[in-house]
Symmetry: C2
DNA sequence: CCCCTGATTGGCAGATTTTGCCAATTTATA
DNA sequence: TATAAATTGGCAAAATCTGCCAATCAGGGG
C-alpha cells in the first residue's frame, strides 16, 4: 500500500468504471502494471467491490431514515439474534455498532412514511429485546462522496 | 423506470464493473438494448456514478465517526455558511440535514483518535455558530450493502 | 563501489468487450 | 384492426483487457 495504490484507490472511488487505460494514465503507469496493482488490491480485500451510485428517490425510495436502537440486554445470545435478523432485512442498507447512548445505528430506505411504519412494526419490533428506538429522517443531503481523504 | 431498469440497477449495485454482456444476460436482454438502458439511466441521473468500495482500515483510516451537530441560529446566512464549509472538508464523506434534536449528521473518516480531535478543533469549531456536537464512534459494522430493496 | 536478487515495469498480441447502426419485433393508441 | 412509436437483436469496427516476456529499478551483502 504505497502512494500509487492510494492514487489508484481514490481514482476508482471517483469513477469505478474508468477504463484501465485511463486509470493508468491518471496515476502515471502503463496499463499492465496498473491492472496488476488493481487486481492485487482486490485480492487483498482492500478493494471489496464496485457499485453503481443510484438516486434513491428516482428509484422509488423517497425516504432515508437513520434509526438508532438500544437493546434491553447485551448477552451474546440476544446480540447475535438481533444482528442476524437485521442482516436479513432488505430495507436496512447499513447497520453499525456504536459508542454512546444507543447500541446500533441503521440506515434504512423506504418508499414512504407508511412503509416506514410497517418496517418498524413488522421487521424491527418482532425481533424482540429492544429497549428503545430513535428515528431521524433525512431532509436533505449536503454532501455525499465515496472518495477517501488522502491519508498522509 | 420499469422492472427491467430496476433489475439493471440492482445488478450494477451488486457489481458496478460487470461487463455489459453479463449484465444483459442477467436481465434477459441482448447487449445492445441493455447498454442503451444503462446509458439512459446515467443520462437521466438515476445512476449518478460508479465507485470502488474500499476497506477504510486497510487504506489507513481506522476510525469511522458519526457526528451530530446543532447550530445556534438557523438563519439563511449561517446555514449556508455551515454547509458550504462542510462540503470542503475531505474527512466528511456524508452530511445530511436531519429531523430531531440535532440539525446535521456527518459521517467522518480519520486515521486515529488524535486526528479526530484535530478534525473537531481545526475543521468544525472554526466554522462558528455551532451550539452542540454529539460524537458516536463506530465499533463494528453488522451490515453494509449498496443494493436497494426491490420496490414493488 | 559493484554485483546480485527480487520486485516492478512496459510493450506486445490474442481474446474479449463495447458501441453505433439498421432491420425486425413488440407495444401502445386510436 | 391499423398505425405509429418505442424497443429489441444482430452485426462489425473500434476499443479494451489481460497474460507473457524481456528490460528496468530498488535494496542488501560482499
Amino acid at each position: 500500500m504505497d502512494t500509487k495504490d492510494r492514487q489508484i484507490i481514490r481514482a476508482l472511488q471517483r469513477d469505478g468504471r474508468m477504463t484501465n487505460q485511463d486509470l493508468a494514465e491518471a496515476v502515471n503507469l502503463s496499463p499492465s502494471p496498473c491492472l496488476r496493482r488493481v487486481r492485487n488490491l482486490e485480492a487483498k480485500g482492500v478493494i471489496q467491490g464496485y457499485s453503481a451510485e443510484v438516486d434513491p428517490a428516482a428509484y422509488g425510495l423517497a425516504i432515508t431514515v437513520f434509526v438508532r436502537i438500544k437493546l434491553e440486554r447485551h448477552n451474546e445470545e440476544d446480540v447475535q439474534k438481533f444482528e442476524k435478523r437485521v442482516r436479513l432485512i432488505d430495507e436496512v442498507l447499513e447497520c453499525h455498532v456504536m459508542t454512546g447512548a444507543m447500541d446500533y445505528q441503521l440506515r434504512v430506505l423506504v418508499p414512504d412514511l407508511e412503509a416506514y411504519e410497517n418496517f418498524i412494526r413488522n421487521r424491527i419490533h418482532p425481533i424482540g429485546g429492544i429497549a428503545s428506538i430513535d428515528t431521524s429522517f433525512v431532509y436533505g443531503t449536503v454532501k455525499r462522496t465515496a472518495v477517501f481523504p488522502l491519508s498522509r
